[in-house]
Subunit: 309 residues, 2 copies
């Protein structure tokens, strides 16, 4: 293994992996090395460009923290996240489609009773959300667990505020015996993904905008069904056809109906305009013998008050 050149180095590197701990590890790294090398050869990567790449990845690593996952943003904006979602969530026609997970999910969001207030102080026009969770036959799935999370009217998730103290606009709920759920939150708005870091610079150099169309995140789990990670997008949003992370699916777009001030769906008077949203989720049965759980990949952030206790 001496005198490796551009023609034989790829075979040499792959050959060095003959004793890999698992055949899957060898398979993954063989493909990775082949594509990494083919990329460098195809574009005749210069030493200067290589070093810019090293510096870029270093910056991505250094800005990544418990509250910000720049590598997930990078994967999202290069379409890798949506591709992996597509590869791993092939479902029968009629099931609710999956979309990207995004970097803003938090484990153990606060439990909220049905009908409760998910916003918890997050700013935005009130929005009353209701829906059902059913199987492919249209029968209700009782007591599914829903995690919901969204940005506020300023386009920020709670984790993005330096002075964050409690969870806002995110919660865990449990649907009732008839598969129904409802809660109060705020109207979703389009927002730019964090673009003050290296991924933002990359988007700018690519002539791309950082905006995502307005959406509400859902993660729904129920025994015997595949976990569903998806969004509901707002019909009419100007970014539906240019989502910075390539996540929009027509079947996930719904009307967020705007109502003038008056009596809200929960029977209380609202002196500001409010919205209503309704959506039906259709879960896919888990393959026999599988739990239906998938890998969670949330960031590790906890709000300050939780950290203090």
């Amino acid at each position: 293994m001496r005198n490796l050149d551009e023609d034989n180095i790829t075979r040499a590197v792959i050959g060095a992996h003959a004793k890999a701990a698992s055949s899957r590890m060898r398979e993954v790294m063989t493909s990775l090395v082949q594509h990494l090398h083919a990329f460098a050869r195809e574009i005749a990567l210069t030493e200067e460009e290589w070093f810019h790449g090293i510096q870029f990845l270093t910056e991505v690593g250094h800005i990544t923290s418990d509250a910000r996952q720049e590598f997930i943003l990078l994967s999202d904006t290069l379409g890798l996240s949506m591709l992996v979602t597509a590869l791993n969530n092939k479902k029968p026609h009629g099931c609710t489609e999956s979309t990207v997970f995004g970097p803003f999910h938090i484990e153990n969001s606060p439990h909220v009773e049905l009908g409760g207030d998910v916003a918890n102080g997050a700013q935005g026009e009130p929005c009353f959300v209701r829906g059902t969770i059913v199987n492919l036959a249209g029968h209700p799935i009782p007591h599914a667990e829903l995690q919901v999370w969204q940005a506020d009217a300023a386009g920020n998730y709670d984790v993005q505020y330096a002075d964050r103290d409690v969870h806002r606009a995110r919660a865990t709920l449990v649907a009732d015996a008839d598969g129904a759920f409802h809660f109060k939150s705020i109207r979703a708005e389009a927002y730019p993904i964090p673009h003050d870091g290296p991924v933002g610079r990359m988007l700018k150099a690519l002539g791309r905008h950082p905006w995502r169309p307005a959406h509400l995140h859902f993660m729904i789990t129920a025994p015997g069904y595949e976990r569903l990670i998806t969004h509901v997008f707002r019909e009419g949003d100007r970014y539906l056809d240019s989502d910075a992370v390539f996540g929009v699916r027509s079947s996930l777009i719904a009307d967020w109906v705007q109502h003038p001030a008056g009596v809200a769906p929960d029977g209380t008077p609202s002196d500001v305009p409010f919205n209503t949203l309704s959506f039906r989720f259709v879960l896919n049965p888990a393959p026999a013998g599988e739990s239906g759980r998938r890998q969670a990949n949330s960031v590790g952030w906890k709000p300050r008050k939780e950290l203090e206790t």
Copy 2:
């Protein structure tokens, strides 16, 4: 741009780059996205594996500092660095070959006079190095600048010591009018690249060792010539055929001659055994109109004493 699936998402992402700031940026990112997506498709990357990748890159970023460049280690161990070196350093037969730069170069290493002591306290058997710098016709190149750096007998570069205070076993020298240079240093020893981090874990999972054969780094610059970044390897080293970073070239292997205690080449008595090494470097003329300088890509570490001043 809705309803992207595994078959059409790659085209959509590339299409989004139509307004890139430069055609080179578009070219590089088109190839990168194609290979990144092809990799995911080819191995049917699972969501769990994707997240392990995100976590791995995050760890690589977090362990990277001014004194440790884990992304360069990653590039080195996957053969990318040597491939980029090979792609960018095609030279006429007879020129000294290039090899990987490595992550341990430092800008502005201390100037040492010819004949001086480069080790500066680094531990190891004494080694007296001499050589010449010539052009393809064999004529001396006067006053070339040499930067040299190496690990000590324990296998560590100065930057790897937590209690580092001064530069050791690295220096900048200037050859004389006849293209000759000589200095005193220490015998190079084989060493493992830093393997207590994510790259070390990767090597272990791949069944690979982290060792590099003993070598002395050189970076040589002279007006009118291409900058040469290379090593001289020690003949007989057990790792010459399994270098963890794939950098060995037969033409760069030299005898490090061991001598018993006695009179050293500098005329002083040595009461310990010592080594001598001699090497002739042949520089490639720079293309007309180019300075011959290439991108430097050293880490930003400075020894503590320098930081304090």
